[in-house]
């Protein structure tokens, strides 16, 4: 059985949070905001590519803009597969955290 990796989880969640506004830049910003850390661009794009390849997200072509060198914006959406994987990982997360005794650093 295959679980999402943490990175994939974070990226998928970012896309879900952004809903219609999820394209490369905004995903990167969201991810950075969520985790409070700087992400190297490769650390986002590589898993994103993998998610795309595995069918967890799909692309939607947006309008071309001059500041992107005339390229279209590419919006990302979760596919049902992606949603399913997120739900699954949420359950796994919940269950692995279930019954954890009080966790403290001495």
């Amino acid at each position: 059985m295959y679980f999402l990796t943490r990175t994939e989880e974070i990226i998928l969640l970012a896309i879900w949070k952004l809903q219609d506004a999820a394209y490369g830049m905004s995903v990167r910003e969201q991810v950075a905001k969520d985790t409070g850390k700087k992400w190297r661009s490769g650390a986002v794009y590589a898993p994103l590519g993998r998610l795309l390849k595995n069918g967890y997200v799909c692309q939607i072509k947006g309008e071309p803009t001059p500041e992107r060198g005339g390229r279209h914006k590419i919006y990302y959406r979760l596919t049902n597969e992606g949603k399913k994987a997120l739900i699954e990982i949420r359950e796994v997360n919940a269950s692995i955290w279930l019954g954890v005794p009080k966790l403290e650093i001495d």
Partner: protein, 877 residues
């Protein structure tokens, strides 16, 4: 509506400065990213990066934005490698590990490879820095594309009369701005500090420059203090360079302070510019022509009498240079009554044409250096290729096993490429350290101020990094293909590739290495021979024990007294005053004789000059103080001058000055009273040109003093005392004539010494490679040597046997190198009008030298092999 108009304007304002620096991200980086980002996210990522670049440009500045954009490459690189080489991270790890193990197992070979490559890269980077520096001259000018120097066609005249500039400004509409430069040397500047007036500060201004005030509109000098538009607008104002301002004012603010120049006029400092080190004219101080007009008279600024100004013009954005110069030609045809073809020389290339005063570069040197640096790098790469293919036998088993366990050929190729890139990366680090160590030495050698700071441009850094990568690839490509081509069956069966294949290829490469080294050796030797020749050639006059120095203003006015007092000093044999010294003397004037017009070098001297320098008089007589008329309109010519005018019996001939220019001849007619034998008054690079000596007391600006060879330092001290007594405000500096004359060859000398170092390095790297190869071959033939020894071969016999092959290589390298080097050197020598003939002995010497060096290099190995106990090599069989 109104509001939106305002917004629009505002937007334009913010947009405008950004147009200057490109709004688009760097092209190369974009292209590389496009190739490297994985195809699933390529489109979106590229767009994102570009958007981000736009934001960074606004918020963080150009430099950071470019840097960030480039840094994306590093982020995508690992993924790219993985994808392209179809090598997983684990395998990549394995490759690195194996590479490191290999390096540490074969330490000698690794050291040879790395040190060779490191030296090669150091030289290469040094040369890149040097070349970048050379090309950076004058580039600080924002309007560089529009600035031209006015001159005549074929470089025939680069110094113009003041009137030319004035006419151009007033009558050629295309010329927007015009500035003339008139350079005077060794002015004395004096500053009385307000707080401490008893303690004046002095400095000699080496190069004092008179300019038109438009100069700041044409050239973009960087003002540290003062306003460029106001700086020279008032008469008697002056602009200092930073270093002069530092000397005179140190902590004080120079603006508004007054300084006294040559103890006469007082100037107000209205500006300080940072030292224009990268400007082709060398100057320390700028003062305006308006002031000059007040001193020497307004009409002088419009005259056509003295031709000693450099004139620059600024043309509009869109201009037709030839049309403008044609207009000038037409315009001056009327004024000068003579048709001179004007030409405009673009500022861009001026530095390398070397016709200005001050700084110039030499394109030929640059090309030769680049080529040499490239070849040194090539030699180092060859070392790598040779050693790694030679060592193939050792790796054969590994390769065989890898192949059997399913490695593809391209995986092996990528493995070996990775190894070579790793080696070149290590070498690059070493080169970086070497570079930091050697830059000061290199600087003192070529007398420059290079620093690694010129590498702060991100693009240059990337180019150099890319270069390293590419060098690694080039060096690694052949070995990679060769090694990955080894057949597993043959390896595992036992008859491993013993490195037989490729022996011929390796041999060829070694021959190439040595051929290059030999060419460099021969080149160095000949360059030094030629330099020795020109420095010690018989110049046709006596140049020993003569000192010369410029007469300062005070001494000039009391020449007579000075001479008398000098002659009283016991060590002084003779004193003469002249316009200059051989090597730096003359005006160029034209004369008419029987309808023919010829240009002559004209040189003003006094009668004693001929005694000091021992010129050989072949006809007529010298100037005489007893004949009053000698000072007016007589001359002594050299043989070449007589030849130019086709004079059979020159003495008594009268010819006429053509109109132009100021002259040391007061009258129009000039009578020949004597002829001296030809002598070299210029560098031996040039033919002896026609020369006239005139005698005009007003033109004598330099003292020539012959001193006796004993007690020189005492005599010099006496002269100094006297000079300071008579002219207390001026420093006393002198030089010996032979040194001054030979300083003409400074750039050749520098060239020679750099070339010398190059050849030493080339030989060294080539020898490193040879050493490694010898080590390998000797190892391979260990058993053979053992058997031979057991069968009774002698020590010397085995050494000869082992050295034999190498000697053959080096000799064939010689045979290739000789004609090539002859060809190159002959071309270089042709720069000199007086040159040595290339001697066969140079070639033979270089040949013997190379063989000796090669044999010595391998002798350690051969001797060790030959003297080894055969038992050790044969025991295990």
């Amino acid at each position: 509506m109104h509001r939106s108009g305002w917004v629009c304007q505002n937007w334009k304002l913010t947009e405008k400065p950004m147009n200057k620096i490109s709004k688009k991200p760097p092209k190369i980086a974009r292209w590389m990213l496009e190739k490297m980002i994985n195809r699933y996210t390529r489109y979106t990522a590229l767009g994102d990066y570009e958007e981000e670049y736009g934001d960074d440009l606004k918020n963080k500045g150009y430099f950071i934005a470019v840097l960030i954009y480039w840094s994306h490459l590093f982020a995508v690189l690992p993924g790219y490698i993985q994808e392209k080489l179809s090598v997983s991270g684990t395998m990549l790890n394995n490759y690195l590990k194996i590479a490191c193990r290999n390096m540490s197992r074969n330490r000698v070979y690794s050291v040879i490879n790395i040190s060779g490559l490191a030296i090669g890269m150091t030289v290469f980077t040094l040369i890149i820095v040097f070349v970048l520096n050379e090309y950076s001259y004058d580039k600080f000018n924002e309007k560089i594309e529009r600035i031209y120097r006015v001159g005549f066609e074929n470089f025939s005249q680069t110094y113009l009369a003041p009137g030319i500039g004035k006419e151009i400004r007033e009558n050629i509409p295309e010329v927007q701005k015009m500035a003339r430069f008139k350079i005077r040397t060794d002015y004395l500047a004096k500053y009385l500090p307000e707080r401490d007036p008893d303690n004046p500060k002095y400095t000699t201004i080496r190069r004092f420059c008179w300019v038109d005030r438009d100069v700041f509109d044409i050239f973009s000098f960087e003002f540290i203090a003062g306003d460029p538009s106001e700086a020279l607008s008032v008469p008697y104002s002056i602009v200092l360079t930073e270093s002069i301002a530092d000397i005179l004012f140190s902590e004080e603010n120079p603006l508004g302070k007054t300084i006294r120049i040559n103890n006469t006029n007082i100037y107000t400092v209205t500006g300080v510019i940072s030292d224009p080190d990268k400007f082709h004219i060398d100057f320390d101080v700028l003062a305006s022509f308006v002031t000059l007009g007040k001193i020497i008279g307004e009409h002088e600024l419009n005259s056509y009498r003295s031709w000693n100004l450099q004139t620059y013009v600024l043309l509009p954005e869109i201009h037709d240079k030839t049309a403008v110069s044609n207009k000038m030609t037409e315009h001056f045809h009327k004024i000068l009554k003579k048709r001179n073809i004007f030409d405009l020389y673009a500022l861009k290339g001026l530095y390398f044409q070397g016709l200005g005063s001050g700084r110039y570069g030499n394109l030929q040197f640059i090309y030769i250096f680049i080529t040499a640096a490239f070849f040194i790098l090539l030699i180092a790469c060859i070392n790598y290729i040779n050693l790694s293919t030679a060592k193939a036998a050792k790796r054969a088993k590994e390769i065989g096993i890898r192949k059997v366990s399913g490695s593809l050929k391209r995986m092996l190729v990528s493995q070996f490429l990775l190894e070579s890139v790793l080696i070149s990366a290590i070498s690059f680090l070493a080169a970086g350290i070497l570079l930091i160590l050697f830059i000061p030495i290199f600087n003192s050698m070529i007398n420059s101020k290079l620093s690694l700071a010129s590498l702060n441009d991100p693009l240059t850094v990337i180019i150099i990094f890319g270069g390293v990568f590419i060098i690694g690839l080039i060096a690694g490509l052949y070995p990679a293909l060769y090694l990955s081509g080894i057949k597993p069956v043959s390896v595992l069966k036992g008859d491993a590739a013993k490195g037989r294949k490729g022996v011929i290829f390796r041999r060829t490469l070694v021959v190439v290495q040595f051929a290059i080294s030999i060419i460099l050796i021969i080149g160095t030797v000949v360059v030094f021979q030629q330099l020795h020749y020109v420095k010690n050639a018989d110049l046709g006059f006596n140049k020993e024990q003569i000192i010369h120095f410029d007469l300062n203003r005070e001494l000039r006015s009391m020449r007579g007294v000075f001479r008398e007092r000098l002659l009283r000093i016991p060590g002084i044999r003779d004193v003469s005053f002249s316009q200059g010294y051989p090597g730096r003397i003359y005006n160029w004037e034209s004369f008419d004789h029987k309808g023919e017009r010829t240009g002559f070098a004209v040189f003003s001297v006094d009668p004693e000059y001929f005694d000091i320098y021992d010129f050989e008089l072949i006809d007529g007589r010298k100037f005489s103080r007893n004949i009053r008329s000698d000072e007016f309109g007589t001359c002594i010519m050299n043989e070449e001058a007589a030849r130019q005018f086709k004079l059979v019996d020159p003495v008594g001939t009268v010819f006429y000055r053509s109109k132009w220019g100021s002259s040391s001849f007061p009258s129009k007619e000039v009578e020949v009273i004597g002829v001296v034998k030809d002598f070299h008054f210029e560098s031996l690079q040039d033919e002896i040109r026609p020369l006239l000596f005139s005698w005009n007391e007003g033109w004598l600006w330099m003292a020539n003093i012959r001193i006796s060879p004993t007690g020189i330092s005492e005599t010099l001290e006496n002269i100094r005392q006297l000079s300071i007594e008579l002219a207390p405000d001026f420093p006393f500096e002198y030089s010996f004539i032979n040194e001054s004359f030979n300083s003409q060859y400074k750039s050749e000398e520098r060239f020679g010494s750099i070339f010398g170092y190059f050849s030493i390095l080339a030989v060294f790297i080539a020898c490193l490679g040879l050493f490694g190869l010898a080590l390998f071959i000797v190892e391979q033939r260990k058993k053979e040597v053992g058997i031979r020894k057991v069968l009774g071969s002698s020590l010397s016999g085995i050494i000869v046997l082992l050295s034999d092959e190498f000697t053959k290589w080096v000799i064939s390298a010689n045979i290739i190198a000789w004609p090539i080097s002859w060809f190159i050197i002959d071309r270089w020598l042709n720069n000199f009008a007086y040159r040595i003939n290339i001697d066969l002995s140079v070639f033979i010497l270089a040949g013997i030298l190379s063989v000796v060096i090669a044999v010595l290099t391998i002798s350690i190995q051969t001797f060790r092999a030959a003297s080894a106990n055969p038992v050790d090599s044969l025991r295990y069989e």
